[in-house]
Amino acid sequence: MSHHKLEARSLYFSYPDGHEAVKNVSFTIYHGESVGLIGANGAGKSTLLMLLMGILFPSRGEVLVGDVRLTKKTLPAIRQRLGFVFQNPDDQLFMTTVYDDVAFGPRNYGLDEDEVKIRAEKALEMVGIPHLRDRAPFKLSGGEKRVAAIASVLSMQPDILIMDEPTSALDPKSRRRVINLLKNFEHTKIIASHDLDMVLETCRRVIVLNEGEIAADGITEEILFNKELLESCGLEIPLSLQNCPVCGTFKSHISHVKKWDLSFSCKCQD
């Protein structure tokens, strides 16, 4: 299904103040892939995502969705296929009830109200919050806001989900819920985050950004084990892969990690 492909071709972007936030970035993401985009604060993750969404336009290079080049003209059609979840759900949930927010997108695409209702309810169902339907977004907890924001994007039935920091500022339980949710989506996904443990669980592939440039692009386990690479990019090995805090031996090898066991189980405790 080539139309689910997302391609960046040598993207460059500078902010008006001259700061070059994205430099020569190229990659292709295929249907069904889940890709983690990691990098330190200010590495350019958010900027890159905005370039993919057409919120910003690159000074050089191009973005292709399917086989269509992203331009001002193709923007409306392309945006319908990309769902973007903002870093701060308060920016994304701007209506006075959760339902109106989830219905906002479908309504703008001119669907009739019955269809809007079906889609909105399905989206709420998918993230497990049908009971929050009539609540005001400003009265939701952080975790509830986050999943509501995801629902507001799912209702547009996008082919590709793009998320900026989906687990930041969440407590462990809410974070776990979002992670499980992400694991179950069959969409093509791009997730920008510094929560490397979450990336480890939800993504097969990782792209590392460092000062606007791609420092690495490969299989998650390989990259997240590469201490040198991560540290040179201002990152750390995920907690779940670090040494055992009790006996200090390296905690596990990949086969162990693959069980996605995030507790500090170690032989020393047996």
């Binding site: 905005m50 969404m53 919120i55 409306p76 945006r79 319908q80 990309l82 973007f84 903002f86 701060n88 308060d90 920016d91 994304q92 701007f94 209506m95 006075t96 009830t97 109106d100 219905a103 906002f104 997108g105 309504r107 703008n108 695409y109 001119g110 109200e113 809007v116 009539d134 609540r135 005001a136 977004p137 400003f138 009265k139 507001s152 994007v153 547009m156």
Partner: protein, 269 residues
């Protein structure tokens, strides 16, 4: 700082109350809005010395308070907070009109009647406005406004303002707290700091608006506000409106309080 907290609490309370599910809540928002407007207009049409004829109008808010299960105390508190201003204006009346009126053995200057009249009108009008949101909610009121053909931009803008009031008031509360911790014993923010204090807040609000706009346009917003279908007005909504309007008009023409009084005292006719 306490008034910031009070406002937050007030908005939150009214929003919570509006999500109850009672008979009053289920009345069509437009009908409730129109009934409230008729009520306030009839109330305002009373002449300035009128006092006793205003009293039967208390039935309407009492009816709503009880049927909609609205707690009385917080609503009254809110009403009381508005009174000082109206008392300020009202208290001047006895100064300018001290023509004498007699009630049995009581003698007062007529200005006091005007004062009392203004006071009662104000209390009732404020109560029913607050009860309107408390039983309808901002989102459904926006539906009523749209049905009145209010420009869509205005409706959307109103909802956005309402949505972000909460967030920005909380933010201002945090900022005032942080400021007052570093400026103990000071009454409010110094005017010299005001520019940067509110200015910072404003810049953040600007950036937020930008991001909200992006979020909106990513979901297909092009300046047209598509708000979905409006609920239909049912027969019982009409009955509700007609019954109350009839009551208001009767209470406007006949002084019900005096009629009741006449029953008990046997005088007046």
């Amino acid at each position: 700082m306490s008034n910031i907290i009070n406002s937050l609490y007030n908005i939150r309370l009214l929003d919570d109350l509006a999500r109850k599910k009672t008979f009053i809540h289920s009345i069509h928002p437009l009908i409730k809005l129109l009934t409230t407007i008729v009520y306030v207009a009839v109330l305002a049409s009373f002449e300035r010395h009128e006092v006793s004829a205003l009293l039967p109008f208390v039935f309407y808010p009492v009816f709503i308070l009880s049927f909609a299960e609205i707690p009385v105390v917080p609503i009254l508190k809110r009403v009381l907070l508005v009174e000082p201003l109206i008392i300020g204006i009202g208290i001047l009346n006895p100064l300018f009109d001290n023509y004498i009126v007699v009630f049995g053995d009581i003698v007062v200057s007529r200005g006091w009647l005007t004062f009392l009249s203004i006071f009662i009108k104000c209390s009732l009008a404020v109560t029913v406005s607050i009860l309107l949101v408390a039983t309808t909610g901002m989102d459904r009121l926006a539906i009523a406004l749209r049905m009145l053909k209010i420009p869509r931009i205005f409706a959307l803008q109103l909802l956005l303002t309402y949505r972000y009031i909460w967030l920005l008031i909380e933010e201002s509360l945090r900022m005032v707290r942080a400021y007052s911790l570093r400026a103990p014993g000071q009454k409010g923010v110094k005017i010299n700091d005001l520019g940067s204090f509110l200015g910072q807040m404003l810049l953040r609000a600007f950036d937020r608006a930008q991001r909200i706009y992006q979020a909106m346009s990513l979901r297909g917003f092009t300046g047209e506000y598509n708000a979905g279908d409006v609920p239909k007005i049912k027969f019982r909504d009409f009955v509700y409106f007609a019954a109350w309007s009839l009551f208001f008009i009767i209470a406007r023409i006949y002084n019900i309080a005096v009629l009741i009084g006449a029953l008990f005292t046997g005088v007046g006719r």
